[in-house]
């Protein structure tokens, strides 16, 4: 990939760049200091506790954790789960991206939106209905029995959840594949078609061209998506807890943190988990993330999409439609659950009620959780937009000194499980002047900060990807014509990356509303519960068999709310909505 030469009238003299970089250093330090305080200090407090034993610094718990076969087996299983989820996402995401970018067919817009819909459902609510649908005596098997494909008296029906592992991986993948799809589509759109055309001219077939030319060029984009998916799955507690799949390190950490007397072993386990996340990330980056796409210019011409014939269209419909149906089935199940009054031993409920939907708006605690979530997520998104743009400019455009460190710091939350960060905030606010903003006080600030810190990588990635793809030469041209650096950034660069920013902001908001682990730890008083905590609370509340359905009803409201968010984004962007998803 050739770099554009510097504009002849404005050679890249060192002075203006150095000045901009120098002027930006205080901002860089301010942001880095903030991140250090909100991310490193709490983590440091948690991790340090893991290396304390009987009042002195010691590696006691570290050796105990590494020597514990159950914990090590859980760690291996967690890696396996994350790999399975990521593999499934790649399998689903790449073909969808090819269809999206390289093909045109009737109904493409609708199907393209449908396959994005799974992102709006908290997957751990899907887990509720998944048990009704896919468990051994769930709807799928009852249906198969009814049509004569299964005979329960001869053989016990299969457990489609595979003892939990398969269920968790499938549910996570069905929730996360749109992330990979979006990243893959963006990467594919930016691959200059001249390379594949050259390969085809030299006699390579379409598959060979895709595998040998296009896929490697997409690798950094795929790596970005796969990283998000892998770490999300590796550190997820919501889905495994709801499917009662316990053999995972995050679940063990979560349960031990929930105890009043959390000890050094738990914090040391946190350290092991963190180290594993960072090691796996570094390994992945080393193996897949080093291609030169970051330095590549945006494809100067778009590949001519291929108009599919009847067979191709049907195939595309089958793939996208089938995937959408599969991904939306748990969501439909949640709606059914929310409306069901009796659902025992039958494919569908035999009695329906609106009482669970009414419960959500009449039960003060449940209604309050919706209001709380909106407040928390909006505040967190606002913070992330500002920080995300600032960090991306500092790192990608202004190229401040130590930008690598700043970028790593901003990306670190990807490797930090939410519940661990939450434990850090609990430790920070356990005593002293911050106690009133701790979990037992009003946790608005720590919840917003936790959501914002955890989702900051989305925003930085979104903004950085946009900036990387917009050639600096456009800004330089503006400056050549007399615009100031700030004016060039505001009038040229920001509009060009607006689609990326809005996409990242929508994702940040959606994922903040769906945030599980921070919410479970940091909101301890019912009046401050966000939606997810209330759903979890209802779903696992012991007494009545009705409460999981009330949880499902709250999940339905959550889906509707996030659907409305997406629709609002679409209305705001009009025809450029597609650009978000291709970005």
């Amino acid at each position: 990939m050739t770099k554009l030469p510097p504009p002849p009238n404005l050679p890249r003299s060192k002075e203006p760049l150095t000045l901009a970089a120098m002027l930006s250093i205080p901002v860089e330090f301010l942001i880095a200091g903030l991140l250090f305080l909100l991310l490193i200090v709490p983590l440091g407090m948690v991790v340090a506790s893991g290396f304390m034993h009987e009042g002195s610094v010691s590696g006691y718990w570290f050796t105990r954790v590494l020597g514990n076969s159950v914990l090590m087996s859980q760690l291996g299983n967690s890696v396996l789960l994350a790999a399975a989820t990521t593999g499934l996402c790649l399998l689903m995401g790449i073909p969808l991206a090819v269809l999206r970018v390289r093909c045109r067919f009737v109904g493409q817009g609708l199907l393209g939106l449908l396959v994005l819909a799974p992102m709006i459902l908290p997957p751990f609510v899907g887990a509720l209905s998944l048990q009704h649908l896919a468990s051994r005596f769930g709807s799928i098997n009852l249906l198969l029995e009814r049509i004569g494909l299964l005979d329960f008296s001869q053989h016990l029906p299969p457990d489609w959840l595979g003892g939990g592992f398969a269920g968790v991986a499938a549910l996570q993948a069905l929730h996360l594949f749109p992330i990979l799809y979006l990243n893959a589509a963006a990467a594919l759109a930016n691959v200059d078609p001249c390379y594949s055309q050259a390969a085809r001219n030299l006699g390579a077939g379409p598959l060979r061209t895709f595998l040998r030319i296009t896929l490697p060029l997409m690798a950094p984009g795929l790596f970005a998506g796969a990283t998000l998916v892998f770490i999300w799955s590796f550190t997820d507690v919501g889905v495994p807890l709801m499917l009662d799949y316990q053999h995972l390190v995050p679940v063990t950490i979560f349960k031990e943190l929930a105890r009043a007397d959390t000890g050094g072993r738990t914090f040391c386990l946190v350290f092991v988990m963190l180290s594993s996340s960072i090691t796996l990330y570094a390994l992945g980056k080393f193996l897949f993330g080093r291609s030169a796409v970051g330095e590549a210019s945006k494809a100067s011409i778009a590949d001519q999409p291929r108009h599919l014939g009847l067979a191709g269209t049907l195939g595309a419909w089958l793939l996208m439609g089938g995937l959408a149906v599969l991904a939306l089935a748990p969501h439909a199940g949640v709606v059914l659950m929310a409306l069901s009054d009796r659902w025992v031993n039958t494919v569908l409920p035999t009695k329906y009620t609106l009482s669970h939907m009414a419960f959500v708006v009449t039960d003060p605690a449940t209604y309050a959780s919706i209001v709380n979530s909106l407040k928390y997520a909006l505040a967190a998104t606002g913070i992330d937009v500002v920080l995300g743009i600032a960090i991306a400019f500092l790192v990608v455009r202004i190229k401040v000194p130590l930008r690598g460190a700043l970028d790593s710091l901003a990306m670190l939350p990807l490797a930090v499980p939410g519940l661990i960060l939450a434990a850090g905030y609990v430790a920070l606010t356990a005593s002293g002047p911050l106690k009133s903003i701790g979990p037992m006080g009003n946790p608005f600030i720590i919840l917003v900060v936790a959501y914002a810190v955890r989702r900051l990588p989305f925003m930085v990635r979104g903004a950085s990807a946009g900036l990387t793809q917009v050639p600096p030469s456009l800004e330089e041209a503006a400056r050549n014509l007399g615009a100031s650096p700030a004016s060039a950034a505001a009038r040229i660069t920001l509009p060009l990356i607006a689609a990326n920013l809005i996409a990242a902001a929508v994702l940040t908001f959606a994922f903040s509303v769906l945030e599980v682990s921070d919410s479970l730890i940091l909101a301890q008083l019912p009046q401050h519960y966000p939606i997810t905590k209330q759903i979890f609370n209802l779903a696992t509340s012991a007494g009545s068999p009705e409460t999981p359905r009330q949880a499902a009803a709250l999940g339905v409201y959550g889906m509707a709310m996030l659907g409305a968010t997406m629709a609002a984004a679409a209305a705001l962007l009009g025809k450029r909505l597609g650009a978000i998803f291709r970005a």
Binding site: R136, F137, G138, L142, S544, P545, P548
Partner: protein
């Protein structure tokens, strides 16, 4: 009318503000016929309570008691439920702290959470003596199979009973051609392999209590443990929440689940006939869920009225009658067992399914001498190490046992049932109970148990596949780690045989 409804229901939430015309009209008419004025016009008094009981229980008793007071005493009762941000143990800590500094907590009544929490509070002098009427003392026995139903100094009295058993999906068991279980040991039957839903006892104390019943049903500690292990080998999975486990037969993830009685009763009400709850006859104790008046209550007279109401046959009927029937709860099933003997006679045939009369001869378990020494904490950790943390290996070992040749079976079963040496006897359990109170020691002991069970299960699976007995009763594994606890050799136990079913 709305105002009357909110007045009667104490106006504690938006749910209570929902129009419920029939219920409110009827209540208002009753009050008018007695006092010549509506509910709104009655003088108001407040009662302050603290209780881990769920909202349904609070609301039903609040409505019924308020109506009773409005009609009989001509007063409106506003019930204030104090929330201290937690359940039974949080409330206990709170009250202990408050009374260590002050003579009164400003709270009248403490209700629910199990007798274990009330005994230390009574000893600490936090509870005021109750004046139990002769009618109450006649209908509530002082003891049931050795368990006190009220405090000997009358500091607390049982307000309901709790028992343990299992719920099963009778309809689906029929379709699968599997016999319905009737006793604890039936849960270890081979056809139920992978079909039993259990909860993690370190996460749920009611799950742990059910496992304690199963152990208590044995002849001695090793026999009781073997019975429990055989059932756990049939587990589909271990859930965190006892409610999720109990819902498994309803949702379809499993067909049987152990649970506390009222989780069972509430689920049975959803699909009577399809779902059945059983407290196995002679297989469970019945423990009281107490009520007490706190020391120096702000409203002593009203507090006594409330306790009397809860312990009356009218109040007790609320626990077990279906919704909407005369004297039953008005909106929510409660599904708990009344503690008064007469309620089972007075409402015979009308109580909801799954409610067993605990006073029938033979219904309650008679505890063997070893039972009280089975430490709850040790049992929880042991179940976690032996089953929750190693379920796939446990299931594989069970399958290996079932497939073992007759000459292998006895040795394999003996190995399967063998306990770690430090808890092989009930005296050992008592010693370990003290040790695990320390975090570091508990971690070491539990890690050793995990290794012990993992090695044992792997050994059984291997021995069975190779067709050789594991170790000829020497009690020493060929792969035994030097740091693992030495195994306790004992005779092959009949609980697990090669055939699987005891």
């Amino acid at each position: 009318m709305m105002a009357a409804a909110t007045a009667l229901a104490g106006c504690s939430s938006a749910t209570d503000n929902l129009p419920d015309d029939a219920r409110t009209r009827e209540a208002d008419a009753q009050v008018r016929s007695h006092w010549g004025k509506g509910l709104d016009a009655l003088p108001q008094e407040t009662l302050v309570l603290i209780s881990p009981n769920n909202r349904n229980i609070q609301q039903e008793f609040e409505w019924a008691f308020s109506l009773d007071q409005a009609v009989r005493r001509g007063r409106r009762v506003r019930m204030e439920w104090r929330d201290v941000g937690g359940g039974g143990s949080t409330i206990r800590t709170y009250l202990t702290n408050v009374y260590s500094r002050s003579d009164s907590s400003g709270i009248d009544v403490l209700w629910g959470g199990g007798d274990a929490g009330f005994i230390p509070l009574a000893q600490a002098g936090v509870l005021a003596p109750l004046d139990l009427s002769s009618d109450v003392r006649e209908q509530i026995p002082a003891e049931l199979s050795g368990t006190a139903m009220y405090d000997k100094d009358r500091r607390w009295a049982g307000s309901a009973l709790s028992a343990f058993g299992f719920i099963y999906n009778a309809g689906m068991l029929r379709r699968c051609g599997i016999e319905a279980p009737a006793t604890w040991q039936d849960l270890s039957a081979k056809p139920l392999a992978g079909l039993v839903s259990l909860a993690d006892p370190t996460q749920s104390s009611s799950a742990a209590a059910a496992y304690q019943m199963i152990v208590w049903s044995g002849r001695d500690w090793p026999d009781g443990w073997a019975r429990l292990l055989a059932i756990m080998a049939n587990a589909d999975r271990f859930t965190d929440s006892a409610g999720t486990a109990a819902s498994a037969p309803l949702v379809g993830t499993a067909l049987v689940a152990t649970c506390i009685d009222f989780y069972g009763a509430l689920r049975v009400a959803e699909a009577p006939g399809e779902l059945i709850y059983v407290s196995p006859r002679g297989g469970t104790t019945f423990s009281p869920d107490p009520i007490a008046i706190l020391k120096n209550p702000p409203h002593p007279e009203l507090a006594k009225e409330f306790v009397d109401f809860v312990l009356s046959s009218r109040g007790q009927a609320l626990w077990a009658l279906p919704v909407g029937v005369p004297q039953g709860p008005s909106r929510n099933l409660l599904g708990r067992m009344p503690i008064r003997k007469d309620v089972y006679r007075l409402y015979e045939g009308r109580l909801m399914g799954g409610i067993t009369d605990p006073f029938q001869a033979g219904q309650s378990m008679t505890l063997a001498p070893f039972a009280r020494k089975v430490d709850f904490g040790v049992l929880r950790q042991l179940v976690k190490a032996a089953a929750v943390d190693s379920l796939p290996a446990l299931k594989a070992a069970r399958a290996a046992l079932a497939a073992a040749t007759p000459d292998q079976a006895a040795a394999l079963a003996a190995d399967f049932n063998r306990l770690p040496e430090n808890i092989a006897t009930i005296e050992g359990v008592t010693a370990v109970a003290k040790a695990i109170k320390d975090d570091t020691q508990r971690e070491r002991i539990v890690t050793d148990w995990q290794r012990f069970f993992a090695e044992k299960y792997a050994r059984i699976a291997r021995a069975s596949s190779m067709g050789v007995p594991p170790m000829s009763g020497t009690g020493v594994s060929p792969v035994h780690s030097p740091t693992a606890p030495q195994e306790h050799g004992r005779d092959a136990h009949a609980t697990f045989t090669a055939g699987g079913r005891p």
